[in-house]
């Protein structure tokens, strides 16, 4: 008899979701759905607020990546003011954004995915968490804690507080960097970098144990989208949007981020609150793309810092074209963390970073502004419209996790088809279905800008819709 398996909630994710696997009479997975079960409404309740409150309001979408929202929002506000912010302010924001990338990647890799990678997909669920990692490999767990601390401390030094700092404002930042603070950050970098390098070395040997997962963890052709500079170098704060296909051909090299609405469309499916963006010229599903660490390394022609470039070359050498298996998001995340430590250092060593002119002031000069930056999980877009007084009349946000939605759903289906047979499935099999989602490090609260209700769950359903099995962890 056809059946449905429900995994609910899906654990070790940021936000709440469930997975439904639909089985046929032979017990083979026919369909898989990744449901995001929350609605929040930030785009609506910010209407009527002054534009300069937007960075602070939008940062509240997420406690993990408030900095990403601050930056995209402040950039959208810069566009409303129609100012070019002082170079020192732009570079300070860059450092801020990279520090956020390090702490968020560390959370994803060490806290959420290392339990699977270190202890194994079939390990006892009672041990499959960061404390289990700490017992088995204390050094790895400590590296994770330290790297998270590194990112958060840089954010605190620059912004005054770790979560929801109010330092990034329309027109720049509201306080220049002091020499003392700069040196404090510089002093922390070597240790952080050594820890990333150590982790990369370990991860590359650990992949030996995951051939089956690498093969089916969302390992399929899609487009890739991300920011790059004029020379094709990875860019996290500014630049153009670049799109490549699964063979590595550049489909579009310099899309204007401000015109995103002309080439990105969002499809709506009834089973989830999260929309499915796609590249308009290629339609749906041909225009489905991935964003985030894997996409950024696939798109870029280099990272632009020496150590990361060595790792980037090794990463790209794993495949003739782009690296297609989402399992490698993990490795891409580590390469990006390495790049971040180098880039932060480069930016801090430039004497201009201490420039006192860090804020441009102006009144509203444009009724529409778009801000695009790379968040840890991928391209983040904030788009605002204001009236002549600067009060918000319309806001639209496209979040990294949203861009990856179609690929996550297809990844769940691919993984479930491989690992799940019949309703008597081992817990470790279902854990793999969750783990494929974790490779994307989705932030569901961000992507729906919604009020959360429940963590992720998995359902197995019969063709007639009858619930066969449901897994839920609270």
């Amino acid at each position: 008899m056809p059946k449905t398996i429900t995994i609910a909630p899906v654990t070790r994710l940021e936000g709440h979701a469930k997975i439904t696997l639909q089985l046929d009479d032979a017990g083979v997975v026919q369909e898989a759905y990744f449901h995001i079960t929350q609605v929040r409404g930030f785009e609506k309740f910010c209407e009527g607020r002054p534009y300069y409150e937007m960075p602070g309001i939008m940062a509240r979408i997420c406690g993990i990546c408030p900095v990403s929202h601050l930056i995209a929002s402040a950039k959208a506000c810069d566009a409303l003011l129609a100012v070019r912010i002082p170079p020192a302010a732009a570079n300070l924001r860059r450092i801020f954004n990279l520090a956020q990338l390090v702490q968020s990647h560390a959370l994803s890799f060490f806290y959420l995915s290392a339990p699977d990678l270190l202890l194994g997909m079939d390990a006892d669920p009672a041990m499959r968490h960061i404390l289990g990692v700490a017992q088995t490999a204390p050094e790895t767990a400590l590296d994770g804690v330290h790297l998270r601390q590194f990112g958060q401390t840089v954010i605190e030094i620059l912004g005054g507080q770790r979560i929801h700092p109010g330092w990034v404002v329309p027109g720049g930042v509201n306080e220049p960097l002091s020499l003392e603070k700069r040196d404090k950050i510089l002093a922390m970098i070597p240790e952080a970098r050594a820890k990333v390098q150590r982790t990369l070395t370990w991860f590359k040997t650990a992949t030996e144990n995951f051939h089956a997962e690498i093969e089916v963890f969302a390992n399929f052709p899609t487009l890739f989208l991300g920011l790059a500079d004029d020379d094709g170098q990875a860019e996290y704060y500014d630049g153009h949007l670049r799109l490549s296909d699964s063979a590595g051909n550049i489909v579009a090299s310099s899309l204007d981020p401000k015109a995103y609405a002309s080439y990105i469309e969002e499809k709506i499916e009834p089973f989830t609150y999260l929309k499915f963006p796609y590249y308009k010229p290629l339609g749906y599903p041909g225009g489905v793309y991935r964003v985030g660490p894997l996409a950024r390394l696939n798109l870029a022609e280099r990272c632009g810092t020496p150590l990361a470039d060595v790792e980037w070359r090794a990463f790209r050498a794993m495949s003739n074209g782009p690296v297609l298996s989402s399992f490698y998001y993990h490795q891409a995340r580590l390469v990006e963390m390495l790049h971040a430590t180098e880039k932060i250092e480069q930016l801090l060593l430039d004497p201009e970073i201490l420039d006192k002119h860090v804020r441009a002031s102006a009144r509203v000069n444009s009724n529409e502004g778009v801000g695009v930056a790379e968040a840890p999980r991928g391209t983040l877009m904030h788009h605002y419209q204001v009236n002549d007084d600067g009060l918000i009349t319309h806001a639209n946000l496209i979040i990294a996790t949203g861009h990856n939605n179609a690929a996550m759903n297809r990844g769940v289906l691919q993984t479930a088809r491989h690992f799940v047979r019949g309703d008597q499935v081992a817990e470790g099999m279902l854990n793999r279905v969750e783990a494929v989602i974790r490779t994307y490090d989705p932030c569901l609260s961000c992507s729906t800008h919604a009020v959360g209700q429940m963590p992720l769950q998995v359902e197995l359903r019969a063709p007639d819709g009858a619930l066969v099995r449901s897994l839920r962890r609270d």
């Binding site: 009527g48 002054p50 300069y52 409150e53 602070g56 009144r363 007084d389």
Partner: protein, 238 residues
């Protein structure tokens, strides 16, 4: 030591004290280093007893009296701190928070807000009464400043400073009870006011994020109304 001519002697929190003729309970208490919470009172402005935080017990009075507008009388026995007063002040604070839309985390005045600090000082941990969530507007028509009715507590400091110090009387209050709101001129957009001199005094004295300088979020320093006593003195000397 003999008291000054006309001085009033009274008892405050069990301590014998004296006040000058016409002196308010609040002023006399502060001279004696006794804390009475206030929000609408501001040194340099006339008092109106709007916020009701400074209510004190006066022996023989049937109800609580506002310390900022009640003058000390000979032989008064005043209590500024009691369980009843603590409860009353907590409830007043809670009602202020529930009346409009105060969301500290995203407020321009966060960490520089007199209402927020007073709630902390009074030990307010939560709001027991239901929030009203009224649909209120933001007036951003002025070139430099914004008025957000969501954050106004009707203390009328803006009205008083504009009238008493600047002499423009751009601000006033219209409506009654829960419908009351501050307005500029004849309830028109601030930016179209013909009397406003854009001096910004109203912004500096506003205890919350209701009146704020545009695009000045996230700054480490708050408003500064310390110019008031100075201006008052200078103008009285003219």
């Amino acid at each position: 030591m003999s008291a000054a001519p006309g001085a009033k002697t009274f008892v405050i929190d069990g301590v014998d004290a004296s006040a000058t003729p016409g002196q308010t309970i609040l002023s006399a208490a502060r001279e004696h280093n006794i804390f009475i919470p206030t929000l609408c009172h501001l040194e340099g402005l006339g008092d109106v007893g709007a916020c009701r935080l400074c209510l004190v017990e006066v022996k023989g009075a049937r109800r609580l009296l506002p310390a900022c507008t009640t003058r000390v009388d000979e032989g008064m026995e005043i209590t500024t701190n009691s369980p009843r007063l603590a409860d009353d002040r907590q409830m007043t604070m809670q009602l202020l928070f529930a009346e409009r839309n105060h969301v500290c985390s995203v407020c321009v005045a966060n960490n520089h807000c007199e209402m927020q600090s007073m709630a902390t000082t009074l030990g307010m941990t939560h709001v027991e009464v239901p929030y009203r969530f009224p649909a209120l507007t933001v007036d951003a028509s002025h070139e430099r400043f914004t008025l957000d009715h969501n954050r106004c507590i009707l203390c009328t400091r803006c009205v008083r400073v504009c009238s008493e110090i600047e002499g423009a009387h751009t601000w006033d209050v219209m409506g009654r009870g829960i419908q009351s709101k501050v307005i500029t001129d004849l309830d028109q957009p601030w930016g179209t006011s013909e009397t406003c001199t854009s001096c910004g005094k109203c912004v500096q004295v506003c205890p919350t994020g209701a009146l704020f300088q545009k695009n000045r979020t996230g700054e480490r320093r708050g408003k500064d109304p310390s110019f008031l006593p100075y201006l008052r003195t200078m103008r009285e000397e003219l």
